[in-house]
């Protein structure tokens, strides 16, 4: 009797063991999926973050470039103003090209006939 009892318990246990592998593989699948999703999320987050930092570098480079261009524009503007200053132009025109200021009677008025 006791033997029979033992056998029957074993049978019952065998049934229970048969069900366990199914549950385990399901849980494993879920865990794997979760792992993959987590990995993808972490990877995406990290790559976006890295991209963001890369953009930051790029932006700083561009800002720096813009600043240097603005500085260069200002420098060129000031150089242009220096070159166009009347003091310099007058000196060049009179001393180098030999021009002189006209007398009032040397001016000639030119009128365009309206007709």
């Amino acid at each position: 009797m006791a033997r029979t009892g033992k056998t029957s318990r074993r049978v019952t246990d065998t049934t229970a063991y048969a069900a366990v592998p199914n549950t385990k593989s399901g849980a494993f699948g879920v865990l794997l999926l979760l792992g993959v999703v987590t990995f993808i999320l972490i990877f995406t987050y990290l790559s976006l973050n890295l991209k963001n930092i890369d953009f930051g570098y790029e932006m700083q480079d561009l800002i720096k470039h813009r600043k240097s261009l603005v500085t260069e524009i200002d420098r060129l503007k000031s150089q242009k103003a220096v070159l166009l200053s009347l003091e310099r132009v007058e000196k060049k025109v009179i001393d180098e090209l030999g021009y002189q200021y006209p007398e009032p009677d040397q001016f000639i008025k030119v009128f365009e006939d309206q007709k």
Binding site: L84, E87, P104, I108
Partner: protein, 571 residues
């Protein structure tokens, strides 16, 4: 596979060991990420984040045509990182041997700071490109702890050098306005410094910048000054001051219709970039700060007030006592003796006695009110620093001789700016205009200055006719321009020495003011030459200067002379 007891124990021990290891790692992670989170974050931030101060760019100053008069550009400043005194001394000696120019004061200061062990020592600020190259070469030869380093700063550049120096003024080493418009509009031009948080990596490369306060660069301003007109005026003024060996001179040119100042020149002048090397007396803008007795130019104010009050007609005759007229204990004299002169001839030939007689008829109260209406005795707020209001004594302080003396421009002190404003009242048809130098700020036009009528158009027409005759046949003949009618008045003032001063030689102030073309005034100009030597009459010193400037101006401003037909071509 079955395990025996020993194996099982080993696995168990290994399991315990790994479990403990995982626990320790976990606990350590929790400590790092949770417990000490704040501490670590602040450590990281202190290493990779820093706050930087950003200097604003000072606004640019333009003339009325958009020509740059003052601009700020980036420049490098060199400093010494003084970590080792001996090495720093070596670098300093190399600098002295190079082509870098340092003043005695700079040398002394550098040496002193190196010896006192300052870690940061300015060598030279706002250096040129060539100086930068020299510094870099010196730095390359330097090996050790001390080194030359550079900071970028803004440097103020005045492309036209001395042109409009008295209007522009100048800035200090830290770009703070010190004189002129740079000082009076400093709050607009300067902008606001701001802070930014930067995040950088281990190589100090910035990857994030966040402004902590709103960046605010200085605003650009446009002046009414025309740099070409200013240039002509300064050139002619310099020539006159040097020819007559005068102490100084000033010229103001104004648009007769709007009150906009086209040029305001003073000589001796200076370079705004060399502010520290300039004598403080030269820095003064004489057009607004030089106070003097206006002399005969003030007869225009007397005559206009007399006509406005209808006290006489232009043809009314006045006794001129043959050149000498006694008022109480004083004697008023004329340079040329006249028996009788008409009202208009009193102005045309500049008779002091005739003017005294007109003032007697006008009376103290009416004359005082007239002078006040022209704006004398008060500042007009031209937005330039150092404007004087002149001296006009209150009526109750007038003595028995005040009225006749005021009639020909004594017992009152004025500025050239006040005089041009008064003359412009006649040019503008009786309106007292507000002289101004500021056109707009950042492209936003300023509100048109108010104008007030103080003379009737009839009075201004009569005054214009009289002033035209001053140039045609009176004291201002040397200002005649072929084909253009000029309405003007001369002035010569004896400088009154200070009480107790020994007078070796009488000093004069020559002046000339007027507008042209008289029929439709476009330009009002006032000229003052202080202490000319040799010739001293306004008609001899200031009038020719007026003419030479006007001749250049009329073509620049397209005011063509009415000449013979030979100078005209019709297409």
């Amino acid at each position: 596979m079955s395990l025996n007891n020993t194996e099982r124990n080993r696995v168990f021990i290994l399991f315990i060991f790994f479990s403990l290891w995982v626990l320790v790692i976990g606990a350590s992670l929790v400590k790092t990420q949770v417990v000490d989170y704040g501490k670590h974050v602040s450590t990281v931030q202190s290493q990779s984040n820093r706050i930087i101060e950003l200097q604003p760019k000072r606004g640019t100053i333009y003339d009325c045509n958009g020509e740059i008069l003052a601009i700020s550009v980036k420049a490098k400043s060199a400093f010494l990182d003084n970590k080792n005194e001996a090495e720093s001394d070596l670098i300093y000696k190399r600098i002295l041997k190079s082509r870098i120019r340092l003043t005695k004061a700079q040398k002394k200061q550098i040496k002193k700071r190196i010896n006192q062990g300052y870690k940061f020592v300015w060598i030279k600020r706002k250096i040129t490109d060539s100086e930068y190259e020299i510094f870099k070469t010196i730095n390359k030869r330097t090996k050790g702890q001390s080194s030359l380093n550079f900071i970028e700063e803004y440097k103020r550049i005045y492309p036209h050098n001395r042109t409009a120096s008295h209007i522009l003024g100048g800035v200090g080493i830290d770009e703070q306005g010190l004189y002129g418009i740079e000082y009076s509009l400093d709050s607009i031009l300067r902008g606001k410094g701001y802070q930014a948080k930067v995040e950088h990596d281990a190589r100090n490369r910035i990857f994030r910048l966040q402004n902590l306060s709103e960046p605010e660069n200085g605003r650009d301003i446009y002046l009414t000054i025309d740099s070409s007109v200013q240039f002509f005026v300064e050139k002619e003024l310099k020539e006159t001051v040097e020819t007559f060996n005068a102490k100084s001179g000033t010229v103001i040119v104004m648009d007769s219709r709007t009150g906009a100042i086209l040029a305001m020149a003073g000589y001796p002048d200076y370079s705004p970039a060399q502010l520290r090397k300039t004598d403080p007396a030269v820095l003064k803008n004489k057009a607004i700060s030089f106070i003097y007795h206006p002399g005969s130019t003030f007869k225009v104010i007397l005559a206009a007030t007399a006509l406005q009050n209808n006290i006489c007609s232009p043809q009314q005759m006045f006794n001129c006592y043959n050149g000498s007229y006694k008022v109480l204990d004083r004697t008023i004299r004329d340079d040329h003796a006249y028996d009788r002169l008409s009202f208009e001839d009193v102005v045309i030939y500049s008779s002091n006695i005739g003017a005294a007689k007109i003032s007697e008829r006008l009376g103290k109260r009416r004359y005082y009110d007239g002078i006040r209406k022209f704006g004398f005795g008060s500042r007009m707020g031209i937005r330039l620093p150092g404007e004087e209001k002149g001296i006009l004594h209150p009526l109750r302080e007038w003595s028995g001789v005040s009225l006749p003396y005021l009639s020909h421009g004594y017992e009152i002190s004025v500025t050239p700016l006040q005089m041009i404003r008064a003359f412009d009242t006649i040019a503008s048809g009786g309106f007292l205009l507000q002289p101004h130098v500021l056109k707009d700020i950042d492209g936003v036009l300023l509100k048109k200055p108010e104008r007030k009528r103080i003379l009737s158009s009839g009075t201004t027409l009569r005054m214009t006719e009289i002033m035209k005759q001053v140039v045609i046949k009176g004291t201002g003949k040397k200002a005649q321009i072929e084909g253009i009618t000029v309405a003007a008045k001369t002035g010569t003032t004896k400088k009154i020495p200070r009480r107790g001063a020994i007078v070796r030689k009488v000093k004069y102030v020559s002046s000339f003011g007027g507008f042209f073309p008289a029929r439709n005034p476009r330009v009002t100009m006032f000229v003052v030459v202080d202490e000319p030597k040799g010739l001293f009459y306004g008609g001899d010193v200031a009038a020719p200067l007026y003419k030479s400037i006007a001749e250049k101006l009329m073509f620049y401003l397209k005011i063509f002379p009415e000449l013979d037909n030979k100078n005209e071509i019709r297409l």
